[in-house]
Subunit: 295 residues, 2 copies
Amino acid sequence: MPVTSDPRPIGVFDSGIGGLTTVRELFRVLPHESVLYFGDTARLPWGNKSKETVTRFSLEIASFLERQNVKCIVVACNTASSHALDTLRARFRVPIIDVIEPAARAAVAASPRGLIGVVGTLATVGSGAYPNAIARLAPGANVISRACPLLVPLVEEGWLDHAVTRAVAEEYLAELRNAGLESLILGCTHYPLLAPLLSRLMGPGVTLIDSGAEAARATAHLLAERGQLASTAAGAKAPVHHFFLSDEPRRRSFATIAQAFLGRPLPHVTVVDQTDLPWFERPHRQPTLSGGDTL
Amino acid sequence: MPVTSDPRPIGVFDSGIGGLTTVRELFRVLPHESVLYFGDTARLPWGNKSKETVTRFSLEIASFLERQNVKCIVVACNTASSHALDTLRARFRVPIIDVIEPAARAAVAASPRGLIGVVGTLATVGSGAYPNAIARLAPGANVISRACPLLVPLVEEGWLDHAVTRAVAEEYLAELRNAGLESLILGCTHYPLLAPLLSRLMGPGVTLIDSGAEAARATAHLLAERGQLASTAAGAKAPVHHFFLSDEPRRRSFATIAQAFLGRPLPHVTVVDQTDLPWFERPHRQPTLSGGDTL
C-alpha cells in the first residue's frame, strides 16, 4: 500500500459536548490530526427522542461536516450511532465511524465468558444496537442492558461524586451488579465522568469500556489502513481545530464541564444557527386539522 | 360592552408536554373553549438554552399557531415567557398571555410581607423575569430564587415521591426553607407534579403558586374582558381540541406522564416535523472557518 497522507480534518459530532471525550482521545492517539467538532447544543439531549428525529438531526450535521471537507465522520453520540448509522452510511461517501461497534469489540475482548453489561440512554438501550453488535461478534454472549436517563443531567449538574448520584446509580445498576459481569459498556458520552463512582459500584472484576475512547482508536486504525493520516513530517503544518455549537453555552458551569470532557480548556467556539444547517426531507407540507378531539 | 363570542381555539405552547398543566386548568375554568396545543418535544428542554435560541423556537411555534387561526396564545413555558415575551408581543397581533406576570400577581397577593421564593430552570431564574415582575407589582418585596435543573428529569423519570427526589429538593431548597417565605412560585410546568413533596418540605405556612394554573385564569379573564369567550348557548358547537408535538413520543412512560400533567389521558397527537414550522431570520449564511485553534 502506498504511504500517503491527508491533511483534512476529522469530523466529529454529538448531540452536545459529551463527544469531547472522543476528541480528547483523538488528541491523544492522533496528535497530528486536525479535528472539526459539531455539538447540537440547541436541540440536545437526543437520548429520549425518536429514531426519525435523531436521524434527521444527524443527517443535517453530517452534511454540514461534509461541506467543511472532512476526511471522515466520527459519530461520537451513542444515540445517533444506535439510530442513524445505516442512513448516514447510505447517504455519505466519507467513511463513518460509530461508537457502538468499537465498544462492542472491546467488551467482547474483555469478557471471555461473554458476560457484558450496557448502560446508556433510553434511545440507545431501546434500540438494541449494543446487543446486536455484540451478537455479531460473539453469538454466545449474554448482554444485560439498562437505561439510565438521570445520569446525564447529574453529570451536567456537576454532581460527579454526590450522594444523590450514588443513590441513583445504585438503583439503576442493582440488577447489573448481581449479574457477575466481566465488562460494562459506558454507552453514553457523559458516563466516563462517572467512571470512578461506577467502577466502585461494579467492583474490580468488571472492566469499564469507554465507547468514545474506543471510537477514537477505531478512527486511528481506519485512517492508517486507508493511508489517510495527516503528515508527521518535520515541515508538516500543525493541526488546527474548530469547535461548532448550535447554541451559545449559557450555563456558568459550561466551561468546567467542557474541560472535564476534553481534558483541557475548550478553545474558541463558533455558534452555528441550526437554521444554517443543510436540510433534508423538507416537503413544506402544512399539517391538516382533520378530526380533532372533543374529550 | 357588547356581548360577543369567538369560537376560535386558544393556542397554547410549551417546550414539551409540561404545558398540559395549563391546559388542564383551561379545561376546568373554560370548559366551552377549544384548545390547540403545541409541544416542541424534538428540541426540549429549553431551560438551559440561550435567550436567542428560545426566542427563535418560540417565534416559529407562535407563527404556526397564528396560522391555525387561534384567538390568543398562551406561553405555557416559563423559560419562553422569561426570554421571548417582548419579542412575541412585538411580532404578533393576537394577545399573548405569559405565565410570569399572573404567577407574580398571585404570589404578591399571597404574601402580605412580600417574602416570595421562586424555583425554576436555569434560564428562568437567570433571566430575573420573576423578581422583575414582582418588583413592578410590589416594589418592597423580597424575592429569593433558585434554579433546580434536576427536577424536570426527575419528574420525567416518574420519581415523584422517590428518596432521591426528596434529597435533591432538600439540597435545592435549603436556603429557601430558612427564609421565612410566605409563598413559593413553581416557575416551571413540571413542578406542580412535585407539589406534595415541595409542600411538605416548605411547611404549611408557604403557599405554592402554580404558574400554569394562574396563566389559565388570566386567559379566562382576558377573553371575558375582550368579549372573546366561546359561546355557551344551548346550540353552540362542542369544543374541539388539537394536540401537536414536534417529535413522536417514544418513552413508554410518555402516556403516564402526559396524563399526570393533563389530568386525563392525552387524546390523539399529531406530529409536526420541526421543518414544517415557519421560519424566522434565516439568512442562509455559511459559517466561515476563519482562525481555528491549534491548542
